[in-house]
């Protein structure tokens, strides 16, 4: 960086206006803070936080950054669990929060939105017209962020597909500042080359997505079913049966392990049997169809050994039951453990039950810091993502926290390699780079590095993420 901080902020103000550049300490710290259990350190802070209004302003910022070799870290909503928004080399944090336009075009049967709009807002507006957003990440996450990592949150992959299947086109600003349009405005997507697909899932290293156009999906009718099992292993077996015996796939499915269930039931005032719980949301063309599919889930659960299973007809009870899963972030607190870190494992279907059992007992028989944590198992059963939340005392020193984080991430890598997992819900960059390299080999990793070099010769954009820096 060959300009000083003052020159930097002055120039940025010239591009986006005085009100949209922030250099105060408490602005910068919020844009550097992530859900890592330890504090932001001086080295993590950006020099300036900039909020451009559109692709043109973003383009100007990136051209300036290239000219002066200033790192630019993109920020959508900061809700990622991969910590890609944490600046590793100071510079500019570029927020897309002002890109909040939304056009729902029923004639064309697509909607187009600014990358910074929150999924919750889009869900709400689409819902008013009877449409459904096939991205059910947390409501505060940005659409651009979700598309950039190609995640759909908790939904089952095989129902609506991932963003790559539903995005018709993108507006993207390349790291060198050029603005490009990709994809289609008709409902027929291109066979062969479609540059949108290069950016979807590229985790922000090849360009900044500024606009997203997605197909409109009619809002399905839904019905929920719940099943209670003695162990999570039985739930794993039920999921295998779900696919192999061609049951109607639920659009969303969650499970909660024994230990977490106990706390969740208590928090929600539910008097359910001890053990693990699976909950599914089935869909249909009409309510009757959805209920019929949910009834199939009840049959599946019972055949797989559930002690009890039924359709959740009462909306209040349904809210409480889903709440048992939503309550995840409070686990550990009952023991005064406020520090936490979660992992994700995506086992192949035949080994799902085995992985669930291993994760249930993951802290046992170890000699490392993980043995000193309290682990809670939960996750998704439509498309399998097993999450394990490790809770530990927040009184631990930063050094000890960093050690336990390293150990947990290493454990995640080992488990993912063992069970043949992938980027799952959260993606790869930056902290899963070692996992990617081991899983796919150095040739594959080098291809990504070379692509990055091609798009971003000065390594401006999200510097450190491909390198695996956290």
């Amino acid at each position: 960086m060959c300009v000083n901080e003052q020159q930097l902020s002055q120039h940025l103000k010239g591009i986006v206006g005085e009100d949209h550049v922030h250099t105060q300490l408490f602005e910068r710290v919020s844009y550097a803070d992530t859900s890592l259990p330890y504090d932001v350190e001086e080295g993590d802070l950006p020099d300036s936080v900039v909020h451009p209004a559109d692709a043109r302003e973003i383009s100007e910022v990136l051209k300036y950054a290239n000219q002066h070799k200033i790192p630019v870290t993109t920020y959508g909503s900061g809700t990622s669990l991969m910590f890609g928004t944490k600046p590793k080399h100071h510079g500019i944090t570029l927020s897309t929060e002002r890109l909040t336009t939304l056009e729902i075009n029923e004639d064309h049967q697509w909607f187009e939105c600014g990358a910074g709009i929150k999924t919750g807002q889009v869900i709400k507006e689409l819902g008013k017209l009877g449409y459904f957003l096939p991205i059910q990440t947390q409501i505060g996450s940005s659409v651009g962020g979700a598309v950039s990592i190609n995640t759909l949150g908790h939904l089952t992959d095989n129902i609506f597909g991932r963003p790559v299947n539903n995005v018709l086109g993108l507006e993207v600003v390349l790291p060198t500042g050029e603005i490009i349009e990709t994809g289609s405005k008709c409902l027929r997507r291109a066979a062969g080359w479609d540059l949108a697909r290069i950016f979807i899932g590229s985790e922000g290293i090849l360009g900044i997505i500024t606009k997203v156009r997605m197909v409109l999906i009619p809002m399905p009718e839904t019905a929920d079913a719940v099943g209670f099992f003695k162990t999570v292993e039985e739930i794993g077996q039920a999921v295998g049966k779900l696919y192999k015996e061609k049951f109607p796939l639920p659009m969303d499915g969650e499970f909660v392990g024994e230990k977490a269930c106990k706390i969740g039931y208590e928090a929600k005032g539910l008097d359910f049997p001890e053990g693990a719980m699976a909950i599914t949301r089935s869909m249909g063309r009409d309510k009757q169809d959805a209920v019929r599919n949910a009834q199939e889930m009840v049959v599946l659960f019972k055949e797989a050994g559930a002690t009890e299973a039924f359709i959740l007809e009462d909306p209040e009870l349904a809210e409480k039951v889903w709440g048992v899963r939503e309550n995840a972030m409070r686990w550990g607190q009952e023991k005064g453990l406020k520090g936490y870190l979660a992992i994700e494992v995506n086992p192949t279907l035949p080994r799902l039950a085995e992985a669930m059992t291993e994760l249930t007992h993951i802290t046992e028989g170890r000699n490392d810091l993980i043995a000193q944590t309290e682990a809670y198992l939960y996750g998704h059963v439509g498309s399998d993502s097993l999450h394990c939340l490790f809770a530990f005392p927040y009184e631990w020193s930063t050094e000890k926290m960093k050690q336990v984080v390293d150990q947990i991430w290493n454990l995640e890598k080992e488990l993912q390699l063992k069970y043949d997992g992938v980027g799952g819900d959260w993606g790869w960059l930056p902290h899963r780079v070692p996992f990617f390299r081991e899983k796919y080999g150095e040739t594959s990793y080098e291809l990504i590095v070379k692509m990055k070099q091609l798009f971003d010769p000065n390594k401006i954009l999200n510097r450190g993420n491909v390198e695996g820096e956290v």
């Binding site: 009100d19 922030h22 105060q24 300490l25 408490f26 602005e27 710290v29 919020s30 844009y31 803070d33 992530t34 859900s35 504090d39 932001v40 909020h51 920020y75 909503s77 900061g78 809700t79 927020s95 929060e97 002002r98 909040t100 910074g116 929150k118 919750g120 947390q138 409501i139 505060g140 709440g323 939503e326 309550n327 972030m329 409070r330 607190q333 406020k338 936490y340 927040y394």
Partner: protein
């Protein structure tokens, strides 16, 4: 055991509370103050306090963020529902107290005069104390005292005592109570409930004002208070020590419903209007009184009640709570007018002719927003008491 120094207590409380934050950002999704920057919402405010304490840095920008919260409590509900149940509003208020008492960086400069006025004249606007009951002149409302005991004390509150729009609430409620034959009175020397002083972090002043009011309640033998000010209601029921002594405090919507149920209050005149109801934060989310105002509105013959997009516990704030009535957020933070305009836009979307509320602060703010949006011909803002009085 030796008592821990004040400073240390605060530090410990704030640190422990803030370290619990899971940093999920759910709180930001419901914040009325949040415009486009993550820093403007509860996530940003709580992170700023946390790092302020860690780094011992308490500049103006931190104070500005902390004082920008309207204390509407929507984030608290959200955190309770899906995350770690942080008492965010309590944390922000503690931080304000810490800044004011310990670090001398609070309150906001414009709030100083309001606090001074509360102390000297018993109301934030600095109006003369002897004019507090001027609205009641000629209405034959007795002053409650030891000698002149009343069944119900009407606690008027500052806005309804001094503000011209607020005074309409006081006059209409008095008219309704008289019509129902309630033996009620007001305090001759009522002072501010102190609610807003506490919100601004001036807990010492709150204690002083609450003691003054409590003493008057005691002297006049008061057992039952009815108020039209949800802010005072909240302090009386949650923050005044009298609550422990069984003092019954009600919002007028609760009391008037009881009078209707007992047949003492009859609403007979038709008011053929479509109305929508705005839940004031300190009546709704903070005091969990959602249904009584709606029931009262629906008791009025001819009235059709339609709901806004965000209603009951999900209602949006008018923007004036948490001490913001006496400050304008610095540049870069969302103005109270912008927050109120968002709410009025929701009301306009319902097609209602009247936007009804049950709080003098909301009344003032939403009225101003209707004017700034130049929508006076489309919608009127009214307190429920005005609507009820039309039906007497």
């Amino acid at each position: 055991m030796e008592e821990a120094p004040f400073d240390e207590d605060f530090d410990k409380y704030l640190n422990e509370a803030l370290i619990t934050c899971e940093k999920c950002h759910f709180c930001n999704t419901v914040c009325p103050v949040l415009d486009t920057r993550v820093t403007q919402g509860p996530f940003g405010i709580n992170r700023a306090i946390y790092y302020g304490l860690q780094w011992n840095e308490f500049p103006e920008e931190l104070r500005n963020l902390v004082y920008s919260c309207t204390t509407c409590n929507k984030c608290v509900d959200m955190c309770k529902k899906v995350s770690r149940a942080l008492p965010l509003v309590e944390i922000f208020e503690k931080a304000r107290e810490y800044f004011l008492v310990e670090k001398m960086v609070g309150p906001m400069p414009e709030q100083v005069a309001a606090l001074k006025n509360m102390h000297v004249r018993g109301n934030p606007w600095g109006s003369p104390s002897h004019e507090r009951t001027k609205w009641a002149e000629g209405l034959d409302i007795p002053f409650a005292s030891k000698e002149n005991q009343v069944v119900v004390l009407y606690f008027v509150g500052c806005a309804s005592s001094y503000d011209s729009q607020g005074q309409k609430i006081a006059k209409n409620l008095s008219k309704i109570l008289k019509k129902a034959g309630v033996k009620f009175g007001i305090l001759e020397n009522e002072v501010c409930s102190g609610h807003e002083a506490k919100r601004m972090g001036e807990t010492g002043l709150f204690a002083y004002l609450s003691e003054a009011n409590s003493e008057m309640f005691k002297d006049a033998g008061i057992h039952h208070i009815v108020t039209g000010d949800p802010h005072s209601l909240y302090s009386f029921t949650r923050e005044y020590p009298e609550q422990e002594n069984g003092l019954k405090v009600q919002h007028f919507s609760q009391f008037l419903n009881e009078l209707i149920d007992k047949g003492k209050l009859k609403l007979s005149k038709k008011v053929n209007k479509t109305v929508t109801y705005h839940d004031p934060c300190y009546l709704g989310r903070h005091s969990e009184i959602f249904e009584e105002p709606r029931k009262l509105i629906q008791e009025i013959p001819g009235v059709t009640l339609v709901e806004m997009e965000n209603t009951r516990a999900d209602s949006d704030c008018c923007g004036m709570g948490g001490g913001r009535m006496w400050m304008e957020p610095p540049q870069g933070l969302l103005s109270s007018q912008a927050i109120a305009e968002r709410r009025v836009q929701q009301a306009l979307a319902t097609g209602a002719e009247i936007l009804v509320t049950a709080c003098p602060f909301c009344n003032i703010t939403l009225n101003d927003a209707v004017k700034s949006l130049e929508q006076e011909d489309s919608i009127k803002v009214m307190d429920i008491t005005e609507l009820v009085a039309m039906s007497l």
